[in-house]
Amino acid sequence: MAADASAPTLANRFQRPSVVGLLGGLVVLGALALLLKNLTVSPSGFFEITLIGLTTGCVYALVALGYTLVYGILELINFAHGDVFMLGGMFTITYATSFFGLHPGQGFAIVPIVFATLILSMLSCGVLNAVIEFVAYRPLRSAPRLAPLITAIGVSFIIEDVGLAWKGPNYVTAPDVFPHTKVFSFRGVDYGWNKLIVVAITIPVLLALLYLVQRTRQGKAMRATAQDKDAAAIMGINVNRTISFTFMIAGALAGAAGLCYSLYVTTVRYDQGFQLGLIAFTAAVLGGIGNLPGAVLGAVLIGLIQSWNEGLPWHMPGSDWTQSIVFSILILILVFRPEGLLGERTPEGG
């Protein structure tokens, strides 16, 4: 089917970079000039906003990895992933406050509580995601390609309403337990502990994931299944179990992201998952979908772009336009470089 990437499109490949590359270069140069101007207007503000962007980027990375893992193995855009992340935030709040009695002013007692909540939340979201795969995607494994995509949208709406029915239409607030005291303060640039904690949760999870995919037997099975399911099956890999495992890992990442997000931002609402999921998906596409380091790179970039756009003082479009900017990036990337920044060229892009 994808073989229409043959003669005419291949010929275009050689001509396109001249014009498109020029235009893209101009856009990137313009954005850089805007950033430099902002840097000169208020350097400390710029670096502080950059640090905020890095923190958001870390949360996005966890969600984006879920998209990329699932896409890598099934070539399915799992629309429901963003909503699983949202439920992860709600799980976190429920476990932390109802089970463990988390509240502000507990000092270092929050460390084991947050850790236990993280484990529970990851587990819940992982199981949830695997169940979604079993119920909604597995029966459609041999249906036309658009069928599971449409189902994914349906599941996304269902999960959103589960959150709505569970926690109601208003924001759910989490206890603000991460200390806001400064880790360091350098020439007016402050870095709070709450941001550091988010990074400190994210990076070990990312490293564990990389280890899992690249060094373990199960990771090898995942990569084999992603490459060719039939051949993997012939080699004795349990394809269905591997796919379930992948969904579970993706869900666990969403659970971790939900914990970071809900304790860092301290509010979650039932409809936030879809929007944030789309942003994270953009990040995955930007980095090259199916590519794990690419997803992290894309997520950090998107996080930076978002916080620069919303926080910088000099002639930035502002938060009203964040979504438009993110989706414009998504569209431009898909149209002109569908393989993303780090990805390999696929027939998809034509």
Partner: protein, 515 residues
Amino acid sequence: MTEPLADPPDVVGIRNVLRARWKALPFWYRVAVAIGLEILISIGVFFLDHSLGYAVAAVAGLYWVHRLPRLPWRLAGQLVIISIFLFTGVTSLAAALAIAFAVFWVPARYRTWTLPLVAVALAVLYPFYDSKMFTIPVFGVWPDVATGVVMLVFIMMAVGLNIVVGYAGLLDLGYVAFYAMGAYTAAWFSSLQFAHRHFHFGAVGLTPNLPGIHITMWLLLPLAGVLTALAGIIIGLPTLRLRGDYLAIVTLGFGEILPQIARNGDNFFGTGFNLTNGPNGITPLDSPGFGHGISNLTGQFLPANYLQCCHSTVLGHQIQSTDVFFWTAIVLLLFTVFCSLRLQYSRLGRAWIAIREDETAAAAMGVPLMRTKTWAYATGAFFGGVAGAYYAFFKSATFPGDFFFNISVFILCMVILGGMGNIWGVIVGAGFLAYLDREGLANTGAWINTNIHFGHWHPNLDVPLYASGIYGLIILVVMLFRPEGLIPSKRVAAEMHEGVSDEPLYDAAHAGADG
């Protein structure tokens, strides 16, 4: 591990496996089991609501009678069932079923025409008998005429989307963008939005020196359609090269960007230029109408001004302006359906179907992929734009809050529920879902809250709050158990069940890409 090998490769999916096992049972055994189940269900429902119990029994009974092998048996069975209902006093229900079966029993060669004709006649006359209709079990009263207008507009959009999704097989998740384009085009050129301009053309019911652009609706509807189609082409040209899910994502992106532009368009980047009036939306719009000249020419048959319309009483019903909007919507819908039907088997329509079934093969047979896809996109966008413009006129307003992603999925859900590629299915699915959205869910929720209780426990559900989840559930259930929709087109059903021909064992997802 070896599970997928256990069933023959052409029996895939839960539904087909279950169906194959069910079909393997003897016929009379199946009839007995089904009728027994139905009696049990009917009795159960009867205790909840008497007339609903009758309805379930009637529909189930008629279905099984219809499955009987011989014509005389069938006829006799139907007579028995209908007369039972006549005697039990559920007369209106029986009458409705009788009409349905009268239509159904027209010989097949005339059925193509009689069924649509009866449907159109019933629809046109709806304002006259709406208030006299019986109460439907669970769903409550029949929808009022204003709901009917909304239903028709959404049916129109669904028929438009069906061209893109059903015929050409391009998943468009940003259809709401076209709807918004149409609505804003209508609003710009028939309101006070551009008050520094002064241009009147055919608009009715205005003082001559009113500022702003005011053009008659009859020009604006095609204009909105054409502008939207152009927007569709502009969006489509770079993106239609992408395949399947990438295209879906890009259209979703456009569907998110356009409403945001509408929301923030009252002051573009601080320049003070007000394009869309921001979150307040543009309201009011001019009243549609034919003007006094045409109205007098036709002996007041065509109203001069919709909003100040019609004091005449026909068949004991005083005609309201909503009724006129309703009939206009029927005309627009008929035009849409006509175009859609004519396109389906035209050269272009066959090219769409070829692309949907196998893009590579279509390209090899000389179908120009880009041009054909762009036409599908533009045609779908055209009807979306016209529907959006008409809806804006009906509401006399347009707000950015009307154009959320939910609407795109809502319209997609209509197409999927009815049956992708089959226009009659899409019409039924869209009408039903639009009705659910406007009145049905609220009515059903009220029914559930009053009639269902376990002991002292009453559910206190706000059913319309969960509308999107219900649509999601409908999408999920339909895709899992009947992916071709309720009233499928035979071709789509075949594609859905046979899958892609040379598919590998585990996925049809990327046939040919690397497998």
